[in-house]
Symmetry: C2
Subunit: 198 residues, 2 copies
């Protein structure tokens, strides 16, 4: 049994989850099923054309402070992005096209770090190419693959599966059919595995 990790590169609380999940899951002996997806279609189906943190300012104000406190607690750098949310479409396509390749977790972390610790525009091809380069990967080839019809269709299918599974936000975790929402439920999700997956 795996932990499905549903993440959206634009999502604030997906950032600490992405940085934390690998050692925690390894400590529990749980393989991670990395599931990049886009929240946009799900938010649109709820009548939102923007992040709820922008639509509801009191909640948004709180979220940034809460995120800051939590990142401090985790020892993670946080630099509030000058633009929020930033489209995660391009890196999500790259992540999806990467499938189970061993560099996927490092790529995911590098994208989150660029967006939330360096305020870089992760929707730009040049930025993503540089992140791939730094990991010693063939950026041009990977970006070309991510722009294939198959990768685009794969990401659409992923968003549909998320909705079918009852996912409404990110990060989300699924363990043994149980949905957990939010970075602050990561430990609960892994605890669920320990109790029920035997």
């Amino acid at each position: 049994m795996t932990i499905q990790f549903w993440f959206e590169f634009a999502s604030t609380y997906s950032y600490p989850a992405a940085m934390r999940i690998e050692p925690l899951a390894a400590a529990h002996g749980v393989p991670i099923d990395w599931r990049p997806f886009l929240l946009g279609p799900i938010f649109a189906s709820q009548g939102w054309n923007d992040s709820p943190f922008n639509l509801y300012p009191a909640k948004g104000h709180y979220m940034w402070r809460d995120l800051e406190r939590r990142c401090n607690g985790y020892g993670l750098p946080l630099l509030r992005p000058s633009r929020f949310p930033r489209s995660g479409l391009l890196p999500a396509r790259v992540a999806l096209a990467a499938g189970g390749e061993p560099w996927l977790p490092a790529f995911v972390r590098s994208v989150y770090h660029a967006n939330f610790a360096e305020d870089r525009n992760i929707s730009e091809r040049g930025v993503v190419a540089e992140l791939l380069d730094k990991l010693g990967l063939p950026a041009a080839q990977i970006l070309a693959r991510s722009e294939s019809e198959m990768a685009k269709e794969g990401l659409r299918a992923q968003a549909e599966e998320a909705q079918r599974l009852g996912i409404f936000g990110a990060p989300s975790f699924i363990v043994g059919g149980e949905l957990f929402w939010g970075d602050d439920r990561l430990e609960d999700a892994l605890g669920w595995h320990a109790r029920y997956a035997g």
Copy 2:
């Protein structure tokens, strides 16, 4: 320095917070400032005429399951109310009129237990009277006081103060000017007190 505990009797996650806060705060040596309030005016100002858990069904479906898991973990009974949300207006007026009386915490817990463990209609005068009776309190006198203009005005002022403080949901905790939202932030709020209140 106190922990302000902002709670709404209709709010699901306020239930475990209300049942848990007294021993936890006592263990930290932090006095509790009990703040009953109504979320209705705040939700209305965000364009909602119902609980977001009803307006956004995927989120609502998740919330009930998450609440069930958490109540199980805390050893708290949970019986999903046949009507949600139930107006918390009457018990909120009673709680506000009670001010700092020593029976307030027990009354608060009895109202949450009635709503979320016994599916009783806490907006009915007879139900609230019975809860007061069971605590050995003069129900008729207390209910009469809660219906005074002063109690009504006090609750309106309380909702305005909540908004001024940036509160957008319940339960909320304020410690040393820091806002924490959600039952799952209760320990963080008390930890904040320990670190920063010296």
